[in-house]
């Protein structure tokens, strides 16, 4: 019984990490695509777009890490 609970905790942790990273991947990919579009349309704004894109990507990365931390908590807490 205990091993079942442990196994399900591990599956849950893996799902939490994996699914949140899928979401972050979609989000960062979208940002990259839009930033590329924006730079292609307006090359003179490249620096501004790049800076903003990095900040947004870092914010999304934070959201993915929330999921991973929840997964780690499920595993060890």
């Amino acid at each position: 019984m205990l091993s079942m609970i442990l196994a399900s905790a591990q599956i849950g942790a893996g799902l939490a990490a994996g699914l949140s990273v899928i979401g972050a991947g979609i989000g960062i990919g979208w940002i990259g695509g839009s930033a590329g579009n924006g730079i292609a349309r307006q090359p003179e704004a490249a620096d501004t777009i790049r800076g903003a894109g990095i900040v947004f990507a870092a914010l999304i990365e934070g959201a993915a890490l929330f999921g991973i931390v929840i997964g780690v908590l499920a595993l060890f807490a």
Binding site: I54, V55, A58, L59, E61, G62, L65, F66, I68, V69
Partner: protein, 296 residues
Amino acid sequence: MRKATLFLACLVALICGTALPAQGHGHDGHAHEVRPITEMETGEFFTNNFVHLMPHQLSEGEVTFLTFYDVNLYQLIVLAILCLVFLPLAVNPNIGGWPYRVLRGWVHWLRDEVVYKTMGEEEGRRFAPFFVFLFFFILTMNMIGLVPHQVTSTATTMVTGALAVITFVMMVGGGILKQGVGSYFKHLLPSGLPAALIPLMALIELIGLFVKPIALTIRLFANMLAGHLLIYSFIGMIFVFAKLLDVSAMSWLPAIVTTVMAVFINIIESFVVVLQAYIFVFLSVMFVQESLHPAH
């Protein structure tokens, strides 16, 4: 030129010198027993490494409110480094030499592009010193963690949480001081709301208020921890492959590959370190500005 070299040499010596206290005490108080890796479980290669990420107390005895952890020691070390680096600049703002030119430009960029751009010059003038300090404090703590044998203070929720609480107090306290208690909490709600929605929205906005510092805490903590976990995982993988190959001469090959990967992660980390310090400060400035001047 010679002054700049001396300056850098002092800095490197200081950071390397901090390795001594970290090595002096055994991690977790008890030494790892030395066993051949063929007898160890696969999980042990990783858990033995991950243990080093936990803060451990330097003082003996029970855990109390004032227990001194290695994380605290490293915060003090970071403060000392910041004092040493910035003191000449504080005494004479026009001092020459390229390290000071770099630092001065950096501080100016932070003040003009981060604080003044969001808060405006008049109000930003009061907040700029704190946010500049916050940036360099977090940055130095993150950077020290990249040096082997050092402790990353920001890889614990306690340190990042304390920093986020400071931001939270500035948000709420600043908002209340600026607008008054009633006005501050009234402006948390969007204006023109139907009366039926007010209790629900009040709950949501109240949760949103507390989520902001928690998000700041987790973002910095998790980013720092994740990089270190990756590096440790790659280092642990050396031993996994060595065990799989029965410690033959072939185990050099995966060891080289995983070491290169660990170095690669370290290079990425050195970018993340600066980015996360910037994000923390940038979001803090945004949150404080938002609560000082609510949107109508």
